[in-house]
């Protein structure tokens, strides 16, 4: 094998491993979100992330990859590589995905599709516990397309924001901010969960049901983020820096650490308790913020970015709640606000030499005294904000006025697990399962649970038709 081939082989190992780590972030989101919501929805919330990954995988294979990275498009959208076949995917650095020259195009698909799936996973956080099942499919497809377009703008060499030198190393804007914009659109159109705000408009606490799950989710995400950011080097050498991904992993790690400390401290100051869910959200916010910056900044700046992001997680969640928006997971604050912060912070703290080495934009305000890069970053945020929010809002609005996007009150009260899927996520706590908890000589007398007089349509439809003998 030639040395050139060996570099490709090594780069492919790294990128595929990174993609696998990012794929696993779906388990992180599943448990972060399941832990922050209620028992009656646990199966729905967790398993939804399997659907997210499934939908993104298929749609991105069929059209998304071509839209984002296919050769021969323009500044707005890619132009080939739809339904790629075996040869297209084995090719390295040639059409239709000639941008991927250090890895086979198939590895490029793998790495990019898991990013699309992460962005899609974020969307549902703010829409949790009250969205109809069909919306996951319909909007999942729409959003994967929106996502692919924006990722073309910023990451494809043909993209218009790429040409302007926008710095978004691994997607604070592309992945997180976009996901949060759609999440916000969804939360606004859905309205708050029953019981979230009192008659007087005062918010009620609806604490998540399982802090261990949330912790697992956060640690899986931290783990997966070592694929997310360092994998975005797309190879073992970046400019003239060998093993640059290790450096990116370092900035990612210290930022996440600072986010935990920031979230904890600020929650202690503001709400007088070292709140666990906020500390954990601080980690995620910091990881979101460092995502754009991880390849561009010095370690000290990464710590600053993480600390501020940790504070944003706390204050943002409270501010969103004060604005009467019900975002069960805190997606808008943690992915949206921290995504904006990370994108701007890159424009502030980018080290000139690192930007040059990556051949993307220039040094930030701190080093150069120039607002150039910060301006580019802001332009990107505005453009993406306008496009993604309006497209998402429009699509969801259309769905709302046609078939409806919110479940009936009875379904919401009973929980999505039993209403939408026909069975609780923790059945033994709700009904007498043969030989299960609460039957025979076990712990409790199980009771059959169901809305009493007005069972959700979905439940009765299924049960009424069947003879019960």
């Amino acid at each position: 094998m030639t040395n050139k081939d060996l570099v490709i082989a090594a780069s492919t190992i790294w990128v595929v491993v990174a993609a696998i780590l990012v794929m696993f972030m779906q388990a992180g989101f599943a448990f972060l979100e399941a832990g922050l919501t209620r028992m009656k929805n646990v199966g729905h919330i967790a398993a939804k992330n399997v659907l997210v990954l499934a939908i993104a995988s298929i749609v991105y294979y069929l059209v998304g990859y071509g839209i984002a990275f296919g050769d021969g498009g323009n500044g707005l959208v890619g132009g080939s590589g739809f339904f790629p076949d075996v040869d297209d995917l084995l090719a390295i650095g040639t059409a239709p995905f000639s941008w991927f020259s250090t890895i086979p195009a198939g590895a490029g698909y793998l790495f990019q599709v898991v990013f699309a799936a992460v962005s899609l996973a974020i969307v549902w956080g703010a829409m949790a516990e009250r969205t109809k099942l069909w919306v996951y499919f319909a909007f999942g497809i729409v959003f994967t397309l929106i996502y692919s377009v924006v990722s073309h703008w910023i990451w494809s060499p043909d993209g218009w924001l790429f040409s302007k030198g926008m710095q978004d190393f691994a997607g604070s804007t592309v992945v997180h901010y976009q996901g949060a914009l759609a999440a916000l659109a969804g939360a606004l159109l859905l309205g708050p969960r029953i019981g979230k705000f009192g008659a007087d408009g005062k918010p009620n606490a609806i604490p998540g049901h399982n802090m261990a799950f949330t912790t697992l989710g956060v640690l899986i995400l931290w783990f997966g983020w070592f694929g997310f950011n360092p994998g975005s080097t797309l190879g073992v050498i970046s400019g003239d820096k060998l093993g640059y991904f290790a450096y990116v992993a370092l900035t990612t790690n210290v930022a996440a650490a600072a986010g935990a400390l920031g979230g904890l401290t600020v929650s202690w100051l503001v709400i007088k308790k070292p709140d666990l869910s906020m500390t954990l959200n601080g980690v995620i916010a910091a990881l979101v913020a460092i995502t754009a910056a991880s390849g561009f900044v010095a370690p000290w700046a990464a710590i600053v970015i993480g600390l501020v992001a940790g504070a944003i997680a706390v204050l943002g969640v409270l501010a969103i709640e004060r604005a009467r928006v019900d975002d069960p997971i805190g997606a808008v604050a943690v992915h949206g606000m921290a995504g904006v912060w990370g994108t701007l912070a890159t424009g502030i703290f980018a080290v000139p030499a690192l930007a040059e080495n990556l051949a993307t934009g220039k040094g930030g305000l701190w080093y150069t005294g120039s607002f150039d890069q910060l301006g580019t970053q802001a332009l990107g945020l505005v453009a993406v904000g306008a496009f993604t929010f309006s497209a998402s809002f429009g699509a969801l609005w259309l769905m709302k006025v046609t078939f409806g996007i919110r479940v009936d009150a009875e379904v919401e009260q009973a929980g999505l697990d039993v209403s939408e899927h026909g069975m609780w996520g923790y059945p033994e706590f709700y009904i007498p399962v043969p030989g299960g908890y609460g039957t025979d000589s076990h712990g409790h007398v199980g009771v059959a649970h169901a809305p009493r007089s007005a069972p959700p349509a979905a439940v009765t439809a299924a049960t009424a038709l069947e003879p019960t003998t």
């Binding site: 026909g422 009771v447 059959a448």
Partner: protein, 116 residues
Amino acid sequence: MMKVEAIVVRDRIETVMDAVEDHTGHVGVTVIEAVGHGRQRGITHEYRGRIFESRFLPKAHLTFIVRDELAEPVRDAIVDAARTGHESGDGICWASPVFNVTHNRTGRSLEEVEVV
């Protein structure tokens, strides 16, 4: 004194308590989780094409120990407040005399303690 007991649907627990306090001034109740089987004979439920039947629906059992003259007003307050407008399942309510009602903390008769 009288013990007034009631079986009500669970989301009426607080409504019933409030009604009792508002209409009779009585404070003090003990609540127990219960499941009931009445004229409304339970529910069926499906999973993987299989039927789950349960003969029980969740209820709460409320106990109010009240002065004799309050038994009827308390009963009335309960019955009204427990009514949900649904077709069935609202439960029942009854009373019985109890004796030697003692307040554990003070060791005195509850009636005396309440008057104070």
